[in-house]
């Protein structure tokens, strides 16, 4: 294994080279130890069955390169591999073959309510959530006033969050998720919801948040959002990059194909 030295100049970068990801299908029986042991012990015929495991190729030979300032929309039909690609970029799935290298702090905004514990109070949830995102205890305390201020929850932060309404919960999770500036921001669908007053505030905040990020990758089905936020686009189809380029040309080609198949 060789050390893969990435530029030390301090540029945010994200690159994928020949990345493939495939999921073996473990369903009920094939996943159990019994089957594996039986396959081991019972002759060649079955054993060859066991090794011919069915796999789903979620990403096939994907090579991409992003630099600071890239705002990339990830488009494609359901099951095209958008989420898998995002998770591979975030280091959650390590590729079966190929190399993913990135330099910069990644913020995966897939599920912003991750790690919320209903039984503990708002403040403790903010601390817990901050730790999960990789902030140090000091960084969290520094941002605490700002977060508390943004949520407008006041005294509610002293009681367990299971008593919160879903709107209040959104305020809390949203405030924590956007409290620090990541170098690379990965988003699976746009995440703004709440009452009208909050919506405007959240919109404002996320604009600032996104602008600070070095690289944005946004998977979305809304072409308006993509056009609003992104300057580039990747069109995924069956785990492969079908097209990568300027936002308008890719989106136009994509909508044309979609409408052609629909009619």
């Amino acid at each position: 294994m060789t050390l893969h030295s990435i530029n030390s100049a301090g540029q945010t970068e994200l690159s994928l080279e020949g990345v493939s990801v495939s999921f073996p299908i473990y369903h009920g029986g094939s996943r159990s130890l019994k089957k594996s042991l039986l396959f081991r012990s019972s002759g060649g015929q079955l054993a060859s069955d066991a090794s011919h495991r069915i796999t789903v190729e979620a990403l096939r030979n994907v090579s991409l390169h992003f630099r600071t300032g890239d705002r990339v929309a990830l488009i494609g039909t359901n099951g095209a591999g958008k989420t898998t690609l995002l998770r591979t970029m975030a280091g959650i799935y390590e590729p079966v073959s190929g190399v993913v290298s990135c330099s910069g702090r990644i913020s995966p905004m897939f599920d912003i309510s991750l790690g919320i514990d209903g039984e503990i109070n708002g403040y403790d949830n903010i601390r817990l959530r901050g730790l999960i995102l990789g902030l140090t205890a000091r960084e969290i305390e520094e941002r605490m006033a700002d977060i508390v201020d943004f949520t407008e929850l006041g005294d509610y932060l002293d009681i367990p969050v299971r008593t919160y309404s879903s709107g209040m919960m959104t305020r809390l999770t949203f405030a924590v998720a956007t409290c620090f500036a990541p170098d690379i921001l990965l988003m699976d669908e746009w995440i703004v919801a709440g009452d009208a007053g909050f919506l405007a505030k959240a919109q404002h905040r996320i604009e600032a948040f996104v602008k600070q990020a070095g690289i944005l990758i946004l998977a979305s089905h809304s072409s308006d959002l993509c056009r609003q936020w992104c300057n580039k686009a990747i069109w995924m189809e069956r785990g492969e990059v079908k097209q990568f380029g300027e936002i308008d040309s890719v989106l136009d080609a994509y909508t044309k194909e979609i409408s052609a198949t629909a009619s």
Binding site: M1, H4, S5, S32, L33, Y93, V100, G104, D117
Partner: protein, 285 residues
């Protein structure tokens, strides 16, 4: 396989992360996973605490319910078995008490290992954290539970007016060795159970048998001619290096040698296993 270069969380540092495909043993990755996990101690200390508190939320005794139920078990079994085996209770009950406390921790490493990664699926699928974080979290909460239960030991010491003396301090390195082995085995079981979902059931039934085979409710002297039953039982030796000092005697050199051997074998096998299959965990859960 992955490579993390300088994955610090400082503002001035730029964390770098390289993940690459391929099979083989990635010892460097495994080691940096264990090390990065350690630096995230504020996270797993908090998660471990929450795990315990969650079970006893809004109850009056809180985590001391663990202590209360354990105390009832120690007293009831202590009195019953002292009668059955015809041994003096001031000798048998402290023995049973320490044995049960330590066994309780060892068995929870085995049993809860099954849900180590499958129970953390929502985390694993949403954010990249070192996998060792989940191991430290579970080991830490087991240590906290042991600390709660330890109150019973002091109660027993007071009641029977026993004083183990300075030799009791030897229980600390013994406990560390149990924690080390427990963490390794729980990691191993966690990985295997993520892949093969029958393993937790299998382990549950094995643990029950081990409990009866290990000298916890009966004294090893009862074995007479069948001493091998204890000698070849790794759990006996792990138990002994904590139990003997707490009861005021020195563990045998044989037990120490056995534990060191167990630790070595455990570390090598689990280390190799982790290096080889670490990157597959997120696919398995």
């Amino acid at each position: 396989m992955t490579l993390i270069l300088n994955d610090g969380h400082r503002k001035h540092q730029r964390p770098q992360l390289v993940t690459r495909g391929g099979t083989g043993f990635a010892f460097g990755m495994g080691c940096s996973d264990l090390r990065d996990g350690l630096t995230l101690w504020p996270l797993w200390v908090r998660l471990g605490w929450n795990d315990i508190l969650q079970r006893y939320r809004r109850s009056m005794l809180g985590p001391f319910w663990l202590t209360a139920s354990m105390a009832v078990m120690v007293i009831a079994l202590g009195i019953l078995y002292a009668e059955l085996f015809n041994t003096p209770i001031h000798d048998f009950l402290p023995f049973l008490c320490v044995g049960l406390l330590v066994w309780n921790m060892m068995s929870s490493f085995l049993i809860e290992g099954g849900t180590l990664f499958t129970g953390a699926e929502s985390y694993i699928k949403q954010i990249r954290l070192p996998y060792s974080v989940y191991v430290y979290r579970s080991s830490w909460s087991k240590l906290v539970i042991l600390a709660h239960n330890f109150v019973i030991y002091f109660g027993v010491l007071l009641y029977f007016e026993i004083w183990p003396g300075a030799v009791a301090l030897l229980a600390i390195p013994g406990l560390l060795l149990i924690l080390l082995n427990g963490a390794a085995i729980t990691l191993c079981i966690g990985m295997v159970s993520a892949r093969f979902r029958d393993v937790p059931q299998l382990i549950n039934s094995v643990v029950q048998i081990v409990f009866f085979v290990t000298p916890i409710m009966w004294k090893p002297e009862l074995l007479r001619g069948h001493a091998y039953i204890a000698d070849f039982n790794p759990f006996y030796h792990l138990l002994e290096i904590v139990r003997a000092p707490l009861l005021g005697s020195l563990p045998s050199a044989k037990s120490y040698a056995a534990v060191l051997l167990i630790t070595l074998v455990n570390a090598v096998i689990v280390g190799a296993f982790f290096a080889r299959f670490r990157s597959r965990i997120s696919y398995w859960v």
